[in-house]
Symmetry: C2
Subunit: 759 residues, 2 copies
């Protein structure tokens, strides 16, 4: 990775309200366990909208979600990710003037994210109203090495004066989640989810423990402040907050540094989270901050080496792609208790819930670059498999597991089931991700211990959900990925997904049987060969709708009979349509929010002829609004597949820049993790044509016209492969690991060192 | 009407909790404007569940109805019928012992409803713990002559003592609606909808005025107590209640009577409801109570004459049918501000909302027996036509009107739109009722002034909701009457309804044109002949699904491809299914809550061959649970039509007795008005085969085996006709009005005096 690609910097910080709240997201620090929005330590003036949050992945409270009309099985309680504490606050008082960027004069300022070293920085040269000039440099880090740890290194240098300086550092245990009654994407009202349990000071560190109001969980945060200079120091606890005050003097050109360590612990991972927090604090303090920084750099060196991706000819894009990959490693859960939320750990949009975004948009990136992270994600799904079995029962099923459409700890959180629980394809998506992980790693032991159980239970669900009619296996009343038509019959994507899931249930059954690894799972879930035959029969006779006239796969049984929405003549301000039209009106029309059948054409490209895929692509292109950020990357990938190079690049467009350049105007609520994975996919699966198939690893590289070339690395069955694409040629290099068979443009090659293939 | 049919009496009153709350419904007094549940005046002991309510038809407040997930156009505010005041309370103190049936000894008791004279009675002979014996007789009436008036005539006779007696009569203005968080059929939580405005005493009467919290309405109740004997009397007002105390003495065998007049007025009908209440009180007091009773009897004489129906051979049934007809005239709104609620004015179930029940189950009774009441009902729908236009816009339509699925004042109150707003057939139902009214009365002036506007605007909606595909006009994403499949394509009932609506829009257009009555409406709503041609085209090419293999009309496009629900092997305690299965699971199966296609076969019997209707009937019979009380009456009617006499009687079964004998165990929340109309229909439209068609009035009488005969009267085009059915013969007599052509068993007859037709 070129260095320029790993630094994102803003010079001349604006104090515009909207930019401040946006940058809280853009510069947030996270490591997959904790996430801290980048608020100014010193706060903002009154009236500034700010989402001052610190989050723990997978930590939740239950919240009431009343249904307007009670019906059996409708969800009336959701989980919500909590803002757990505020340890960001640090105030600096120079004699009697308090530093803040809204008074005095900011002579110099910048804010940056260093993705090579894993921290964010802010630097300000500030002249106080009375003329004192200070340089303030703040480095913030959430450690990848010690996941519980968040540090702030706060340096103050007096540039033109001698005087007194006071540091006031707070640790606030009573915090609330952000709410906005007018925005359906965040919580509508605030509720006190966290209640104080214990507040204490031990060895100069404050520990605040709170418990959740309904979910029976606890969280402890510990904060320790260390000043680089002798001082008079005072720490007090009042209610559920602790404040440390450091008084000292400063002379011209002297730098004083406050280092603030925060550790987080929760009772999901550690029964006694308070003593665990103390151990974590001890660990943090046992080495120097420089050493911790060193670990961070080391971790990221390895990360960047694994997911290396470089584009020649578009620096902004290269930066955006790096930014996205950085956010993905910041966001992804690193244990079985967590997954990757729609907004990562960067904000409260979608309340920290996990969706299919994980499996279909994000996991493919990790599967290719960090298979162990992909494995963690599957482990989380395995952890909630029992909850998915319960969910299936609620939905009326006699067997199998149905994953919740949105969740943290496994229970469904969808308030509106027609575009929530009805999205049965989540089962197929999770199965697909397990199968892809297997195809990329051949990790049969993991399949035997966990993966197969997921595959078998989801396969069982399809058998219970579908039925034979006229000799075909049909799946009625489900919602596909496109939420502009809900509860349809034989959604092509869902049926194709189910077919793949069922086929692989059979594949894994015989694979495990032949390797002697079947017994444990077979007896655990009482699987019989008779059932496996049922899986095969349903897969073989799966009904995949096809329209003879248009020679396309209809999105579902009724899609083509509906009136076509006049997208062209719909006023711009009516998009996204879901904010302006009643669901019934949307459902009654041929209009798609996002790729649905087209997504199926990407992941099951061998299920249809290239002609059908081409016809489908052209058809759905006309009726898709791309109101979801998950859409254009898929259209781009399929356009690449079809050789529609201009369209492929057109759909790729600025999607990679969504959050870094706030193109959707809602990054303040958090990053769009799925889009980040999706834009990676548009390059590697799209332009480079990578596919993981049972028969092996496939490529079909193309080069967008305005690029001069691109390079990336992938992992396949334990080997690392470098791919370099230039005009008319692509070069494949085995960096490490054993030789592999690869397919390029459909032709098989043995990759031992380097192969260059001309287009 | 035989007298025995018009008295319902219970002897030996039970003080069982469940029976008390049930009888509050069974013996409630109502007149279409006001409804008072029959609570004991003296109250019940603590811990008794009681719904002590007084209601005004069409009077409402808005209540919040939060959606679990916000989506465009979803209803977040409903209307709710209010409990407006309590004027039932009367306490009797004999020396120092207060009468109540839970202490002392009840020596004799009965409770009765006199449907000939329009009042309810309670008589108790009670011995106090100290041995005083009194006879108490209480008559309660809501006047049909003066709709605002509710009277209680409370007589006390000392049977074995002389002593002091005190009457304490209350008028309570601060009341709440009943709530039960565990029952989805009534409100889940209480909210103070009514806030005090003014309380005052004028000329010995108390007037309490309150205003609603959100809907901007006011209500005033006035109470005046008159004691038959000189006494010391004191009236006081405290907070928003008034209490009148009457102290006097009583001697053995003396009877003292307290007459309590309550008048109700509301600001929907009368801007200044307080002065209007005073006028109403003046009017009530201007004649004697005996005179008011006389008016009541007179009103009912006429009513019973119009809707005369008598069954030989089943007295219980005759009583139940009379009870039902009595409840219908008690419940039906008598002005344009009100309609008939699902529970009439007898309880708070369904919150006083109006549904399609009116048009499809109740109005047919009034159309035949009291066409002016049917006209009132249409007038109410006309009053809310503008709201229906707004509703259409919310649902995305560019033109036309879409009636709300449930409402009081016109705005939609459905919390769950898939089985609420999606029931577009409400438009067809209302159109059908207008057309039926026209067919029964030929009242073209009413069509010109109001009816046609409804027909044209609903027709426009169909044009906007449907679309042509493969040469057929289709209507997608609607819910038919059967709520166990929602948001389907081409629901047969809906499409057939829409076709009828569109056809009649054209019929009325040309009818009005030819009679010179078109101009006003044509210019008011900018109707063009081009649009009428569109109506015709859609009607002519309406897609009515037909299955070639089964030779039936499928309920919708996908119905037959779904798995058939195993009704037989579903445990009894899992019915009604909607309380035990997730909607998605229900929707995925062939299982019907109620008549859907079969209802279409009843009202559009000429749209299909008898064979098809027979096949459909037999098919749907097997997949229908009749979980709705609106189902069996329709199956009975169609069975009659098909000559399936045993089945017709089997489906008719005890449906007429639902409320009088509480067979559904939920009459405490209110009567089932639609079932009452439906059981009437099962006799007159079912057994007697009555149909209103463009070509005239049809009969095809059959006689259930266990009856010896039945008789009823109907109105047709201003003439009154008596129909007498006996074994193998039926006799038609023109009672008054001009001669009519009628069709019996398909053959035309001229009815001048009497015709007897042998079967």
């Amino acid at each position: 990775m070129k260095e320029k690609q790993l630094i994102y910097e803003i010079k001349y910080l604006s104090t515009n309200k909207d930019e401040l709240v946006l940058n809280e997201t853009v510069f947030h620090n996270a490591n997959g366990y904790i996430g801290i929005r980048s608020n100014f330590e010193e706060g903002y003036p009154e009236g500034f909208d700010s989402i001052r949050g610190s989050y723990i992945n997978g930590f939740y409270d239950f919240a009431e979600m009343k249904q307007a009309e009670k019906l059996f099985g409708l969800v009336e309680e959701k989980q919500t990710m909590l803002n757990v504490a505020d340890s960001q606050t640090i105030r600096i008082i120079l004699d009697d003037e308090e530093f803040n960027m809204f008074e005095g004069t900011t002579l110099e300022s910048k804010r940056w994210l260093d993705m090579a070293n894993g921290y964010t920085g802010r630097k300000i040269v500030w002249r106080s109203p009375n003329g004192k000039i200070v340089e303030i440099v703040i480095k913030r880090m959430t450690s990848f090495y010690q996941l519980s740890l968040f540090t702030i290194e706060y340096s103050v240098t007096a540039l033109n004066f001698d005087g007194e300086v006071r540091f006031v550092s707070s640790h606030i245990g009573e915090v609330m989640n952000y709410s906005n009654p007018n925005d359906p994407r965040v919580a509508g009202e605030s509720f006190k989810h966290l209640l104080p349990t214990v507040a204490k000071i031990e060895e100069g560190a404050s520990y605040l423990t709170s418990h959740t109001s309904r979910s029976g969980l606890s969280v402890c945060t510990g904060v320790k402040n260390i000043l680089s200079k002798e001082c008079s120091m005072h720490t007090s606890i009042e209610e559920h907050s602790s404040t440390s005050t450091f008084d000292t003097s400063i002379v011209k050109n002297e730098t004083i540094v406050l280092t603030k360590y925060t550790v987080f612990s929760d009772s999901i991972r550690h029964k006694d989270c308070e003593s665990h927090a103390m151990k974590e604090m001890e660990m943090a303090l046992s080495v120097s901050l420089a050493t911790i920084y060193g670990y961070q750099t080391e971790y990221l060196n390895k990360y960047w080496d694994n997911c290396f991706l470089d584009i020649d000819g578009d620096d902004d894009l290269s930066l955006a792609v790096s930014y996205n990959m950085y956010q993905l490693i910041q966001s992804v859960g690193k244990d079985e208790y967590s997954n990757i939320a729609a907004k990562g750990l960067s904000g409260e949009g979608y309340e920290g819930h996990y969706f299919w975004d994980t499996e279909m948009y994000i996991q493919p990136f990790f599967t290719l670059t960090n298979p162990s992270v992909a494995k963690n994600l599957i482990e989380h799904r395995y952890t909630i498999l029992e909850a998915a079995r319960d969910n299936a029962k609620i939905l009326g099923h006699k067997k199998g597991a149905l994953y919740p459409w949105r969740t943290i700890m496994g229970k469904e959180c969808s308030g509106y089931f027609p575009s929530g629980s009805a999205q049965y394809h989540i089962n197929g998506d999770i199965a697909y991700s397990v199968i892809s992980y297997y195809l990329a790693t051949k990790d049969i032991d993991f399949i035997a211990s966990k993966g197969a159980e997921i595959i078998f239970e989801t396969a069982r669900l399809w058998i219970d959900a579908g039925n034979f009619y006229n000799g075909r296996f049909r799946i009625n009343e489900v919602t596909g990925p496109d939420e502009y038509t809900c509860m349809v019959d034989n959604n092509y994507y869902t049926n194709a997904s189910a077919q793949y899931n069922l086929q692989w249930a059979s594949n894994f059954y015989y694979l495990l049987k032949s390797t002697g690894k079947l017994c444990a799972i077979e007896s655990k879930i009482n699987l019989t060969e008779y059932e496996v035959k049922e899986f095969e029969r349903a897969a073989n006779f799966m009904y995949l709708p096809f329209d003879d006239k248009l020679k396309i796969n209809p999105q579902d049984d009724s899609f083509l009979s509906k009136a076509v929405w006049d997208i062209e003549n719909t006023p711009k301000d009516k998009f996204p349509l879901l904010l302006h039209y009643h669901p019934l009106y949307l459902y009654r029309h041929q209009v798609c929010k996002q790729a649905d059948t087209v997504l199926a054409h990407f992941i099951f490209e061998d299920a249809q002829s290239l002609d059908t895929i081409h016809n489908s692509f052209k058809y759905y292109e006309k009726v898709t609004t791309h109101d979801s950020s998950l859409s254009t990357c898929i259209f781009s990938i399929v356009a690449s597949k079809l050789g529609l190079e201009d369209e492929a690049y057109g759909y790729f467009g600025d999607s990679a820049k969504l959050d870094l350049f706030n193109t959707h105007k809602n990054t303040k609520d958090g990053i769009h993790t799925a889009n980040m994975g999706g834009s990676y996919m548009a390059i590697v699966y799209g332009f480079a044509g990578l596919r993981l198939k049972e028969s092996g690893l496939y490529f079909a590289p193309t080069l967008p016209k305005i690029w001069t070339g691109y390079r990336f690395k992938v992992n396949f069955e334990g080997s690392q492969i470098n791919v370099q694409v230039k005009e008319n040629q692509s070069t494949f290099t085995l960096i490490n690991g054993s030789k592999k068979q690869i397919y390029v443009y459909g032709k098989e090659y043995e990759l031992k060192d380097t192969i260059t293939i001309m287009k």
